[in-house]
Symmetry: C2
Subunit: 503 residues, 2 copies
């Protein structure tokens, strides 16, 4: 093609992909709406609508029109701008992934997923793995077949990891997870013999409306832009970026534990800052979102842990929290408060885990998934293996499968390879924190002043603005000058908990 | 085609039209969201998304796939069920209408509309018709050309009326509007010499939250299903049916005039009851909505006027309203309150008009539109003609075009033929009320008891459930045994205002 033809085709390609983005924005709004107040009786028809729009996007990703664009335009071609190249790369990957699965097998898989989620819910409630086992077996078998279609190099599981965190492999994870485990397990053991902080004051009644007022103040400090977002209530909190001008945070209020809403809002606020600050030039394209699950999680965990559970942050905010509370902190000093919100205690449920033990929950899931996809573990043995690992790493044992192997929805939804992103995000965050220390040596002082703007700006310049223009490991490398490294997280945890528990 | 082929094609056709419905549901949610709390900064990208989805629906309505369905399937064919026949009829009409406009002319028209709305807003604010005049001239000229493409019988304006109220013609409207005018104008004149009710207590401070609580109680009495809906705040109130399980009401609070929210909510609640009670068998099809603008308005006006401004309704509810108020009604008896909320006074602004004078506002617009499309009135003369008509029918004259000919957005949006629906709805409502009196002779007593369920059930059986399965005049005929008749509305108004003003 000559230059003019290339221009014409690439314009059409960009319009085509904008249409996919438009559908995704509509889908995002429907998702948000269903989870924040849509009337119950409309939900089943809404699911039909979501199904139809999703299929449309799926079909567009594998259509003959898409195939023609991908065949005609070459990312390496000097005539194409950076955005078009990244778009082509993204669409090519999606095309290959979706096109390689025979249509009938994909349809069967979608039906299986949806059935499995229903059964999982019931099985979890009854604590009965045997109900769920045949579905999980089919899900694993289907996913293995898909992995065969997609192809794999050294390790089948690498192909699954690549779905969520492009570039991260079993080789890399084995190394960093072993290092983390080696540092965290002894630390957990030490803490179990140290004196536990007083925490009972955390659980006094804290009115929902006041929790909300305080959460709003914190979001404001973080630099969350309320003219490009809003805060709503939901059951399973999330943040969602419809476009950078509309990034919504949701949270959950527990009047017997204000930490759920406050730390939850800070966490989701971290995700939201990412989506609000993606470069304007990516708006309306499929590149206008976080680059990976792991990098996204690095932003939420950065704010939740390095900001929200930091002593400096509370120097000013503790007084504010007291103002909104009904007096439960009157007799509690700042240091005591700080130790309480940083209590570490092995627990069975991942989403309730503290900052220190969280990674162990992830590592357990990683080891199991890797075993499953390398034919070293069979589905039927999962409850036993799960319980043994909890005993080994955390020193506690689930009393039933509901609080054990059945606790997370991920596997029922066919999401294998997703869990590691959580721990990756945590390691990335620690690496970013280290790099930030050089540029912002007065980090703690800024937190004391409640001036988080420089922190946000630093992250925007290095992470947020790029959207999917850069791959996750490219961002890590550009920001820190090195690859994935567990040391920074391990050092941070060691130092922090030494302080909290006077080890 | 043999039976089997017909079945196959009609199934594909229904799936195709469900997809159009799905897109419309997504569009509806985006519309609602933009008007109830979507972050401002996301609005421009949201408009792009809305534009893309709307074009998609438009293209689907005129695609070659649609053309093939319409060619292959015949509504009169005995092999097709009632829903498929109605669907075909609906899609054929849409196809003809959209296909007859050359694509380029339609695109130019959309651009013109959007520009005209912007200019209109500014012109209205400045009260300067001359700014808007060239745009309105173009809009009228384009619409005339479209009317030529669409074709027309006796009167060009009939084709425009048919867009909003199929079956209603200039011949019909001239007759009913003349009758209405003949009854209302002398009544308005008489009232202007009668003693005006005391109303100052209506305008005392009424806290927004309390208005909301009261409005919710009224919606509940009406039988609005809150598990299939919700009430939100907005600037220009509306009700929207996404599907019968999700029909949302919006309202506006004026702390200096509680009537805005309360009568507004009752009005929108009437629209909402219609959409909530459409038959399940139409869910997910384009037939699952009100059959016309006029029939929709008959439901909202029925509740707003025949229920909400009825003395019986307030026998119980006045005490409730007092409970929610801050004491402004303490010295006001029920009768005095009733007269106050039914005060009639000629006013310049349609949307603020009372029950009696409202129809005159509509008749003025009807006469002007008819004149425009029959080349009897030129756009440049509109301000003069408008003011003369207000003087003649209502005895008042706008002091500037902002409160005169520029007050409504309809013409700027190219909606000609729409205004009559408001008055039609009012007449339909009065005819329904007459028919209902036979079946529910204790109507007033039910209102006194706050038991509106039988009223809703009566309307559901005769109006709501049908969705677009029946045409507007078919519903009118089936419910009342006759065609459009202004007598019932005229009689109602005469009797009511004789009471309110002791004429």
């Amino acid at each position: 093609m000559n230059k003019e033809e290339i221009k014409k085709v690439s314009t059409a390609f960009k319009e085509y992909s904008s249409k996919m983005s438009a559908y995704n924005e509509a889908l995002g709004l429907m998702f948000w709406d269903l989870r924040t107040g849509a009337p119950k009786k409309g939900a089943s028809q809404r699911s039909e609508v979501i199904g139809m729009l999703s299929s449309e996007v799926f079909e567009m990703s594998t259509s003959s029109e898409m195939a023609a664009y991908l065949a005609k335009l070459t990312p390496v071609d000097g005539d194409l701008d950076e955005i078009t190249c990244a778009l082509l790369d993204e669409c090519q990957k999606e095309y290959d992934r979706n096109k390689k699965i025979p249509a009938k097998e994909y349809r069967d898989y979608v039906v299986l997923q949806s059935k499995a989620e229903g059964i999982w819910e019931e099985a979890k409630e009854k604590g009965d793995f045997s109900m769920f086992q045949p579905y999980l077996e089919k899900l694993v078998a289907t996913t293995k077949r898909f992995t065969d279609y997609w192809g794999y190099g050294e390790n089948k599981y690498d192909t699954l990891l690549d779905l969520y965190e492009p570039g991260v492999t079993v080789g890399v994870l084995d190394e960093v997870f072993n290092e983390l485990k080696g540092k965290i397990v002894p630390l957990v053991h030490k803490i179990s013999h140290a004196e536990a902080p007083r925490t009972e004051f955390l659980f006094d009644h804290f009115p929902k409306e006041k929790q909300k007022d305080f959460s709003l103040k914190v979001l404001e400090q973080m630099g969350y832009d309320f003219s490009a977002g809003r805060l709503d209530e939901t059951v399973h909190p999330f943040a969602i970026g419809l476009n950078p001008g509309d990034v919504r945070v949701t949270t959950k209020y527990d009047e017997k534990d204000w930490r759920t809403a406050v730390f939850g809002t800070i966490h989701e606020g971290g995700h939201a800052l990412y989506e609000q600050n993606i470069s304007e030039k990516l708006v309306g394209t499929p590149l206008c979102t976080g680059t990976s699950m792991g990098i996204h999680e690095s932003q939420s965990l950065f704010y939740e842990n390095f900001v929200g559970r930091n002593l400096s942050f509370w120097k000013k905010n503790y007084a504010l929290l007291k103002d909104f509370s009904t007096g439960q902190f009157d007799e509690v000093g700042l240091e005591e408060f700080y130790r309480a919100i940083n209590e570490s205690k092995p627990s069975l449920i991942r989403i309730e885990a503290d900052e220190l033990t969280y990674a162990l929950h992830i590592i357990i899931r990683y080891e199991i998934e890797k075993g499953l996809f390398n034919d070293e573990i069979e589905v039927k043995d999962l409850p036993r293996i799960w319980n043994e690992k909890y005993e080994e790493y955390l020193g506690i044992r689930p009393s039933n499968d509901g609080e054990g192997v059945l606790q997370d929805v991920h596997w029922a939804g066919g999401s294998f390879g997703y869990f590691p992103s959580y721990a990756l995000g945590y390691m990335y965050a620690a690496q970013f924190r280290e790099a930030m220390r050089e540029d912002i040596p007065n980090f703690d002082q800024l937190l004391e002043e409640g001036n988080l703007v420089p922190v946000k700006e630093w992250l925007t310049e290095r992470v947020h603005q790029w959207g999917k223009l850069k791959k996750p490991l490219e961002i890590l490398e550009d920001v820190t000058g090195e690859g994935l490294n567990a040391k920074y997280l391990a050092d941070y945890l060691t130092e922090k908990y030494a302080g909290v528990y006077s080890l």
